[in-house]
Amino acid sequence: MTINNLSFFSDYLVSSLSLSVPLAFAAIGGLWSERSGVLNIALEGMILTGAFVSAAGVFLSGNVLLGIAAALIAGGLVGLLHAFLCVTLRVDQLVSGLAINLTAAGLTAFWARVVFATENAQLPGFTNVGIPMLKNIPLLGPLLFNQDPMVYFLFLLIPLSTYLIFHSSLGLSLRAVGEYPRAADTAGVSVILFRYASVILSGCLAALGGTYLTLVHIRFFTEGMSAGKGFIALAALIFGKWHPVWTFLACLLFGATEALQLRIQAFNLHIPYQLLTMLPYLVALFAMVGIAGKSTPPAALGIPYVKESRAQ
């Protein structure tokens, strides 16, 4: 392998990872929510909200951290709304997600015209923070040790989520709420509290994914920029069997597909680029077809919990 090939491959890996970061944040968010038994089709709307609010926040204040904080709060509020509709009002969780997606699309498009009406300036974003020495390792260095702070946070988030969900008493309660809420309730675990907390957390994480889109990828907000990423994240969640590590790997696969698609476009291989844009969606679809039946969702997923009812 020549030096040139190596650097090409290294670039490809870096862009694969970068494209999978928004998916991974959203998918880990969805994982928390769905492990607690609340379907989260609203990820798409949460990503879009995070993307818009962070862009607007940075645009108006000029401070990246302030933008992220605003996005986290907005995402949390969207999560709160979803939790209120699904947990307290017990409406259909799928429909609630769709309603939130449509509302988020409308509101962000509306306010984008108002806020960004005058100028089309690029937003300040993140700069990469390299870890001395380690970042010079070929291949792995640029991939793992020369990234922006959000990627490092993601690297932290995955083992943390795995530990919390599968190896802590908190996670045991969370999974009990998602698998068999009656038993959890009997054992004194508050089903309502756990579901609210995890849906709000999922809103925050998905919004963080949206933040990554605006502050790192595009450096600006465009309408509908989430482009189905929330649903690809859900596909990754199913493909990853509701486990943080496998889910992250699924996101990497979808990110790598997207990166491949962009590479092929750049190389001008006479494959029409419009056809290539469907590749990430098709791969996500085929992943779900391939995993069929081997991936079991939490047993109480999508079923509202009613304290006094006798049925499940």
Binding site: L89, A112, I238, Q274, L285
Partner: protein
């Protein structure tokens, strides 16, 4: 037979959504006020643009006809307990299919061409969503996610076809297919500007209502939606029914795509992807998945869509305002779902609680 229990229930099902729509109008007014527009002026403009005159009402009906058809794409699978949101994709694919056939046989008599375009739209859209149903039943693939992913595939396919293989070289700024000859376009209903698509929509809503409520086919479908295990034990062909209903659902959205190209656009290009699919989901939901109610809700929502341009011109609100309104309607109607059974006016003394429905479980894969 209109007995005591039924009319109160029906009244509830009519009153709550209407009240919800009014409440969302109030919220929308507040939103407009926050955005610096005069809410009463906005209401007046919407009313004028949607229902104010015969001219504007015809505009509303033109917008309503694809909505009626796309709403069925969500409303029919909902009877099975499936949530399909691939309306936009089936709409686009139906439009492409119709244009392709229309251009291929443009030398045939206009009636034949129109018929062929309609059939092509129906078949293309039907296969698109039928595939989602088949994946759901045979491979346990989540139908909501797969149908949404297919929307993006359909749009990519549309962009590819209109800028490559099917492109009319004279369409420079906005790549499009060759136009359908004017002779082959769907005409207007005599005495109006409204095209025949409206008739298609009304007939489709009526037929699907009859099919779902008055035939054994519909009864079987609703049985599956009510309790899939019971349906399976009763020996109903769950797989065939799932695929058939999804095909039917997709074919309605495909027909909407055909109507849009053969009566309004005249060619396929990116304008085909104009949110009729997503608005159709809202129509189906507000109509509580009832095809007859969907035709009325489509007119209401069509009117509001038709007023988008006026809001932009007169009140300098961005055209995304209509999207905000759609979202508000969706959320408020969803909230109102939790109000059923809360008002004593609508309650009968002998109210029987319905058993909770069992979620749709695909065929066990171990078999």
């Amino acid at each position: 037979m209109l007995n005591h229990y039924h009319w109160r229930g029906t009244l509830e099902a009519v009153c709550i959504p209407i009240a919800a729509i009014f409440f969302s109008l109030v919220l929308f007014g507040i939103f407009c006020a926050l955005a610096g527009a005069d809410p009463l002026g906005v209401y007046a403009s919407i009313y004028k643009a949607a229902f104010g005159s015969w001219f504007s009402f015809q505009n509303t009906l033109i917008r309503a006809s694809p909505l009626m058809l796309t709403s069925l794409c969500t409303a029919l699978p909902a009877q099975l307990g499936l949530m399909i949101i691939g309306n936009e994709g089936a709409f686009v694919i139906g439009g492409i299919g119709a244009v392709a056939v229309g251009l291929a046989i443009s030398s045939a008599p206009p009636t034949v061409v129109q018929l062929a375009m309609a059939i092509s739209g129906i078949v293309c859209g039907g296969l698109w969503i039928g595939a989602v149903g088949a994946l759901r039943y045979y491979r346990a693939v989540n139908e909501t996610i797969s149908s949404l992913l297919l929307n993006y595939v359909a749009i990519a396919l549309l962009n590819h076809l209109v800028s490559g293989p099917m492109r009319d070289p004279s369409s420079l700024n906005k790549p499009s297919t060759y136009p359908i000859p004017a002779l082959d376009m769907l005409g207007s209903i005599p005495g109006t500007r409204v095209h025949y698509g409206l008739i298609y929509g009304l007939i489709a809503c009526a037929i699907t209502y009859f099919l779902m409520r008055r035939t054994t086919f519909g009864f079987a479908a609703r049985t599956i939606g009510g309790n899939i295990r019971a349906a399976r034990i009763a020996g109903l062909p769950v797989g065939k029914l799932t695929v058939a209903i999804c095909f039917l659902a997709g074919s309605c959205a495909g027909l909407a795509g055909m109507v849009e190209v053969a009566a309004v656009q005249g060619r396929a290009n990116e304008s085909l992807n104009a949110n009729y699919g997503y608005a159709g989901i809202l129509v189906a939901f507000v109509a509580r998945y009832n095809p007859l109610a969907a035709s009325l809700v489509a007119v209401l929502l069509g009117g509001i869509l038709a007023s988008g341009g006026i809001l932009q011109r007169l009140h300098s609100l961005p055209d995304a305002t209509i999207l905000v309104f759609q979202g508000l309607v969706f959320l408020v109607v969803l909230y109102s779902e939790s109000l059923y059974g809360r008002f004593r006016v609508f309650q009968d003394q002998s109210t029987v609680r319905r058993p909770p429905s069992v979620p749709y479980v695909p065929r066990p894969t171990s078999l």
